[in-house]
């Protein structure tokens, strides 16, 4: 249909342009973001379309009462419902879910600004089954019986829909869709809309089904000619670094090594695939910890504290603590550089971005604190944090009543053994984040805004945060690790670094600062990837904060950093692209030595092949062939049948005519042939 380039050369001088029939019929959607299917040990969640796409007549929903048209009274089911964001609520979606075949799909128009009242598609009690509180460990605190952490959660992300749900931006393309609806589909003054009607077709067919055990079994069956993978386990890599180099080849317990773990979480999610800005839920925490690590870089080199600080960034925490459960599992099985006996205490940085009154809260686990020695250590850590906060215009406090820990990676450490630890958050009880794990948890949620008319370079440098929390965390970690008092005042986090990181992770990652670190291929959305993606950008950032520049490698493609005195079991060596000096365009790359490494963040359930495990995360993501959508006009069913009938009739009549002509061939086409009964 579209290969008419041959003809266009001949016809172009005649003023006729080349047109493809397909382009005249269909308008393709440029921005296709859909919800995908995820599976765990018992359920499947997400959306599914049919193999040939779901077709439905467009209907822009005006109000919740207008649902009656879609579900009962509309004369042309199935309908493709366009929802404006105020109508994207649990009640509307549940009614559509029970639409029994009249709903072909949903497209949600995402607004340009966050809704005022908050929206969280996550559950009210995140990760309730894989935390530390359970029937055996303080059942009164399990299942959010004491504190509901995410009260605005409507649980939409964990529902199963049998139609596709796409997200549209509020731009010109969506206006085309709305206009198509107004032109063709609008029922005016009680009359039913006439054919042809505007329709949309959405493709998001997911290959996996039922649950993780089924899809992993189907992955493994290899009878057919081209075996197909249907799903992938969620997981990626954790990033960790230590202030003192640890021998990476000697796994298991390290004698005389006492480690303070400073943890943060990297990932988040939203209702739709690959949109996971996670500004407050993820970025605020790890940016603070990265800035603290950067602030400590000199103090931990020159005046080394007694204990080693291990900075750990966990991936996949949204989905039942994939990263932290894997690290704890590795520590228990002597697969990690240290083991649980080496861990002295844990400080986790949770959601710290929305500090109302600049107040931060220190959450602890009351159950483990019933033990005297653990309680003493926790009190010490709280004391260190309080004293670090003095003079910084940041207040820290404990919640003041017996409250369980919020969902945090530290809970997985507590499942293994009672370790003293504190989780730093900006909420005393329930979350202050109104957009927890949603597509609205972006820079606007953190009040990170830039004056208008700034170029991207100026925006990169514009200070949006004063980095006081990072300074406090750095000083507290230094004290906790046994460092000297005199060094504390020199530990200061750099607001420039914090600002640049916030800009890079929340606004645009393809900026000059990130480009110095390496090839930034795609924007980091924060969604935990399936195992074959690389999450190397964060490791590079961590490198920069904990590293020493040792020598310049002179070539400009990434070579192995070769020099005779490399010690790969203690350090990790990486090539960094570097910046171009002012009077040249060639970047000067250099090798970087750091203690930052990656560690696998795949749930132990997949290594142990326990796909119905209740202890570990069993989340997998389905595979799909393509995700796309298009709009076109449909004719009525009667017209389609009439066209088909006419075609069949033409076929039969042509066969009849051919038969008649063939049987009378000798009369019609006689041309005086020789008689064929010649004798030999």
């Amino acid at each position: 249909m579209s290969n008419c380039s041959c003809y266009s050369a001949f016809l172009s001088f005649a003023g006729v342009s080349c047109n493809s029939v397909e382009k005249k019929i269909y308008v393709h959607l440029n921005y296709t973001v859909s919800c995908v299917r995820l599976l765990n040990a018992t359920h499947q969640i997400g959306c599914q379309s049919s193999l040939s796409g779901n077709v439905g007549v467009l209907h822009v929903l005006e109000s919740e009462e207008n649902l009656d048209w879609v579900l009962h009274s509309g004369p042309n089911p199935p309908y493709m419902v366009i929802l404006e964001s105020p109508l994207f609520t649990r009640s509307v979606m549940m009614k559509l879910k029970n639409g029994s075949g009249r709903v072909a799909g949903v497209a949600v128009v995402a607004p340009n600004t966050n809704p005022a009242e908050g929206f969280s598609p996550h559950t009210t009690c995140p990760n309730e089954n894989t935390g530390v509180y359970s029937e055996t460990y303080e059942p009164t605190m399990a299942n959010c019986n004491m504190t509901v952490w995410n009260p605005l959660g409507n649980g939409l992300s964990y529902e199963e829909f049998d139609f596709p749900i796409f997200s549209l931006k509020d731009d010109n393309d969506t206006q085309v869709i709305r206009q198509c609806y107004l032109d063709h589909n609008r029922a005016g003054n009680g009359s039913t809309p006439q054919y042809p009607l505007c329709a949309m077709q959405l493709y998001s067919h997911m290959s996996a089904v039922t649950d993780t055990a089924t899809c992993m079994r189907r992955n493994a069956i290899n009878f057919s000619l081209n075996p197909e993978m249907v799903c992938d386990p969620l997981g990626d890599q954790n990033v960790w670094a230590s202030t003192r180099p640890l021998n990476n080849t000697a796994k298991g317990h390290k004698m005389w090594e006492s480690v303070v773990i400073a943890a943060a979480r990297l990932d988040s999610r939203s209702f739709f695939f690959d949109i996971a800005p996670g500004a407050q839920s993820g970025v605020s925490g790890f940016v603070t910890l990265l800035a603290a690590a950067h602030a400590l870089r000199n103090a931990t080199q020159e005046a080394q504290p007694n204990r080693t600080i291990l900075y750990t960034f966990f991936q996949g925490e949204t989905f039942d603590y994939i990263g932290s459960s894997r690290m704890v599992y590795d520590m228990e099985n002597k697969q990690f550089v240290v083991d649980l006996d080496n861990v002295h205490s844990v400080l986790e940085i949770g959601q710290v971005g929305l500090r109302a009154d600049s107040k931060l809260w220190l959450h602890t686990d009351p159950v483990s604190r019933r033990n005297e020695s653990v309680n003493k250590e926790v009190e010490d850590l709280i004391g260190n944090l309080r004293s670090a906060a003095t003079g910084l215009n940041v207040t820290v406090d404990v919640p003041g009543f017996s409250q369980p820990l919020p969902p945090s990676s530290f809970q997985r450490f507590l499942r293994a053994r009672p370790i003293p630890g504190v989780v730093l958050e900006d909420h005393q009880s329930a979350y202050t984040n109104k957009f927890y794990e949603s597509m609205y948890d972006n820079a606007e949620n953190l009040n990170v805004s830039y004056p208008p008319n700034l170029t991207p370079e100026e925006q990169l440098e514009y200070i949006t945060d004063t980095a006081r929390v990072a300074t406090m965390v750095a000083r507290a970690l230094y004290r906790q690790a046994g460092g000297e008092e005199s060094q504390l005042s020199s530990i200061k986090a750099d607001p420039q670094i914090v600002t640049k990181m916030l800009y890079s992770f929340l606004v645009r990652s393809n900026n000059s600062w990130f480009q110095q670190l390496g090839n930034v291929i795609s924007f980091l959305t924060g969604f935990v990837c399936v195992v074959h993606h690389d999450f190397c950008c964060l490791q590079l950032v961590l490198n920069r904060n904990c590293t020493i520049r040792i020598f310049a490698c002179s070539t400009h493609f990434p070579p192995p950093c070769d020099s005779s005195h490399l010690v790969p079991q203690m350090y990790n060596y990486m090539w960094v692209q570097g910046a171009a000096p002012p009077n040249s365009t060639e970047r000067e790359g250099y090798c970087v030595r750091s203690t930052a490494r990656l560690s696998k963040a795949l749930s132990p359930a997949f290594d142990l092949e326990q796909y119905t495990s209740k202890n570990f995360s069993t989340w997998t993501e389905s595979r799909w062939k393509f995700i796309k959508g298009r709009i076109f006009l449909v004719a009525s069913h009667e017209l389609e049948m009439l066209t088909l009938g006419v075609g069949v009739g033409v076929l039969l009549s042509s066969l009849l005519v051919t038969y008649i002509i063939s049987s009378k061939a000798d009369i019609l086409f006689s041309s005086g042939r020789e008689p064929t009964n010649a004798t030999y």
């Binding site: 193999l51 089904v209 057919s224 197909e228 004798t679 030999y680």
Partner: protein, 144 residues
Amino acid sequence: MSHIPDSRWRKAVKFSVCLTWKQQRGETKKNAIQKNKEEEVLSDCQHLVIWRRFSDFLALEISGGFAFLPFLWLVNVVWFFREAFVKPAYTEQLQIKTYVKRSALGLLLWVAVLTTWITIFQHFRAEWGEVGDYLSFTIPLGIP
């Protein structure tokens, strides 16, 4: 047979070949050589030809191990149905009849068994879970 009449030469060749067969089977009749019995001999031979072809086909089936294939039985029934039941009787027709009947019976049995199994499998494959997956050659994507 073609509606264009044979040439005399072809007729003569067929007559002599047929006579040889008949001699091989010990059925020579003196008056078969006479001309007015030619058509009788020829029609006899046609039956012999058909019988020859049929027995060759059966031998191929049995020797090649195809004797248990229901599709070949279908071919037997369809191809030789006219010879066995429609044409007027001749000596070899009885044997052809028995074999066609046997093939038809076997075919019906196979069809019944296969239909039943296919219905059951398609209906219950999803419920059988693991067993269903291991029995399947291709598993459809996206549906249980």
